[in-house]
């Protein structure tokens, strides 16, 4: 089959690799019909996540048709499914509590050794996201082996378009959980850093959850425009002092909750960020948490910080004092996708949530490297890239 593989920083290629097979009883094989490039794939593309090896198949947002099932799978051949990026057994202590992204059993035992010293506990398995999370071959391919297929994949009714439901795999539940972690009540102001797909879905979710106003912060005019369409007020940080503006837009109180949908590779020309970026490039500090620092400074006393943005290592100059003295709460984590898919599918069916506005480009899988380069370098126009395996390159 054809698959997008990693060969080094800013070097991804579509290669021919062996087709996957059923290996464990609960596996299914999915023929991919749509797969997206995620903002977090850019962290892999930039080489800032350790444990990615040459030849690894990337991609964790995908859907398709079931073509083969193991004896323990509950799926049927021919069904259309969206597959969560988190691999979860459904039976361990964490899965039983619906903490699916903390599954004990999905990361192979020898791979768990990689993250146990780094984080104190091993991570669970994810598709196509480095050997720290299991080294599972990802979804930017013609076929994918899906472990625990009786737990993760959600069956999509015929008649719904791929574009409507593909993002149930990651970014829609991620934006939703980000808003849920912000613990929104009526009258709240929520500030969202980053108008990438997760930030935009967080804006949409926060509105549905009853926020009085949502303020989105970014520097790409087109992305800010999309945030405005989702019902947010917007701040362009290249024009405006963000902290001052947030205070003035909230009657001097500050936002009740803040969402960092940026993560470890913040943009911006603030001194702390320039320093962080240099350290990241030379490999002595993994995270550049400029947006998070600002969010912590902005949030009102006793407020909430929700952190869906991806971080991998250690942060310098973290405003721990502000966190403690202002009495803040911080909630974060990889998304417990399986907890949200059913409810969000219903909301899409009922027309409450639209995800198609996000897609700016549809490319054949063969053109995935071009998709990565543009998603990284032309962020204003390239808001979301969906790859279609099996379609001809143009």
């Amino acid at each position: 089959m054809r698959a997008l593989t990693y060969h080094g920083s800013h070097d991804v290629r579509v290669d021919t690799v062996p087709d996957p097979e059923i290996v464990n009883p609960r596996d299914a094989i999915i023929e991919v019909t749509s797969t997206a490039i995620c903002g977090s794939d850019l962290h892999l593309y930039d080489g800032v996540i350790p444990g990615v090896m040459s030849g690894d198949i990337l991609g964790h947002e995908f859907m398709g048709r079931v073509v083969e099932t193991g004896s323990g799978s509950t799926l049927k051949k021919g069904q259309r499914v969206v597959v969560p990026f988190t691999i979860s057994c459904g039976q361990c202590f964490h899965c039983k509590m619906q903490q699916f992204s903390a599954c004990d059993n999905s990361n192979p035992a020898e791979k768990q050794d990689l993250t146990e010293p780094l984080y104190g506990h091993p991570l669970s398995g994810l598709f196509g996201y480095s050997h720290l999370t299991g080294g599972y071959p990802g979804g930017q391919a013609e076929y994918v082996r899906v472990p625990f297929s009786d737990v993760g994949p959600i069956v999509i009714p015929e008649g719904m378009d791929d574009d409507e439901v593909l993002f149930l795999s990651d970014i829609l539940p991620t934006g939703w959980m980000a808003a849920e972690n912000a613990d929104i009540t009526e009258g709240d102001t929520v500030a969202v850093w980053g108008c990438g797909p997760v930030g935009l879905f967080a804006v949409q979710s926060a509105r549905i959850m009853g926020a009085h106003q949502v303020i989105a912060i970014d520097h790409h005019p087109h992305r800010l425009e999309l945030a405005r369409l989702m019902g947010a007020k917007v701040i362009d940080y290249t024009q405006t002092h963000v902290l001052e503006a947030l205070m003035e837009m909230t009657g001097g109180i500050g936002p009740d909750a803040v969402i960092d949908a940026v993560g470890m590779e913040s943009h911006g020309f603030a001194p702390d960020n320039v320093f962080d970026t240099i350290k990241q490039k030379v490999g002595i500090g993994a995270d550049a948490p400029h947006a998070l620092r600002m969010a912590i400074m902005a949030v009102r006393k006793g407020g909430r910080i929700s952190m869906p943005g991806v971080y991998g290592g250690f942060a310098d100059k973290f405003p721990l004092g502000a966190l403690m003295e202002k009495g803040l709460q911080l909630r974060t984590g990889q998304t417990h996708v399986q907890r949200y898919t059913k409810d969000l599918l219903r909301r899409i069916q009922e027309g409450e949530i639209d995800t198609t506005f996000l897609i700016s480009h549809r490319l054949p899988l063969e053109e995935a490297p071009r998709g990565y380069a543009n998603f990284k370098n032309n962020q204003n126009e390239w808001t979301k890239v969906v790859l279609k395996p099996g379609t001809a390159a143009v």
């Binding site: 062996p18 087709d19 996957p20 097979e21 290996v23 464990n24 009883p25 609960r26 323990g72 057994c89 459904g90 039976q91 361990c92 202590f93 039983k96 004990d104 059993n105 999905s106 990361n107 192979p108 035992a109 020898e110 791979k111 768990q112 050794d113 398995g125 299991g134 080294g135 599972y136 071959p137 082996r145 472990p147 625990f148």
Partner: protein
């Protein structure tokens, strides 16, 4: 009102300074103090009463060796009834289903012969005798004189709190071939019993909770 002038003040400060021991004497004094301190610490170390034992399992001690034996072990919580896990373990032929390092197991009565993979493609024969078997609670073994490795160990099963299933705890003591150097070499090859115990218990948990052992292999020939 009388003022003390700057000059008077300086004289006063110099007078106070002169009353103190000279720089050289100060240095010698400090040096003696330091030496005395070190000696006192050495002496106190020898005389100090043993600290009272804490609540932690012995295998987590900073000291990793107990006589000639290295002690290792690991706990895991498995979401299954205690008796089921005991029964599964007690049938030693099941152990090779999740212990990567076991090449073969032959049990007859209390005596079990194990062929265990060792660094650099070698294998060792271990022969053990069951020294304690309390159904649902504990299985303990000790190597016999026929064994190539001098080892003893036990696995214990107890109910986990809050309906979380069963805590499975293994403790293994062994005399590393070639001593500490051998232990370090085995660790490098990831064949050291501590490394193996950690991974094996995770695989046991996967097998008993999910019915399969997680792998990222995409093919059966891979």
């Amino acid at each position: 009102m009388t003022y003390r002038t700057f000059e008077e003040d300086r004289r006063a400060r110099r007078a106070r300074h002169a009353a103190q021991p000279g720089g050289a004497a100060l240095a010698v004094g400090l040096g003696l103090l330091l030496l005395g301190g070190l000696a006192a610490r050495q002496y106190a170390g020898q005389q100090a009463p043993r600290r009272p034992a804490d609540s932690a399992p012995g295998r987590t001690a900073r000291r990793r060796r107990f006589g000639d034996y290295a002690v290792t072990g690991r706990s895991v919580t498995i979401n299954r009834p205690r008796r089921d896990i005991y029964d599964f373990w007690r049938d030693f032929s099941n152990l090779s289903k999740f212990m990567e390092n076991i090449e073969s197991v032959h049990a007859s009565g209390d005596i079990t012969r194990w062929t265990i993979s060792a660094p650099m493609g070698h294998a060792v024969d271990v022969v053990t005798r069951i020294v304690s078997d309390r159904p649902g609670e504990e299985i303990a073994w000790r190597s016999t004189e026929d064994s190539e490795i001098d080892t003893e160990g036990k696995v214990m099963f107890r109910d986990a709190p809050g309906a979380r299933g069963t805590v499975v705890e293994t403790v293994i003591a062994y005399r590393p071939p070639m001593g500490e150097l051998g232990r370090i070499v085995a660790t490098l090859f990831q064949d050291e019993p501590g490394v193996q115990a950690r991974r094996n218990l995770k695989r046991l948990k996967m097998l008993l909770e999910t019915g399969e052992i997680a792998t990222n292999r995409n093919r059966n020939d891979g």
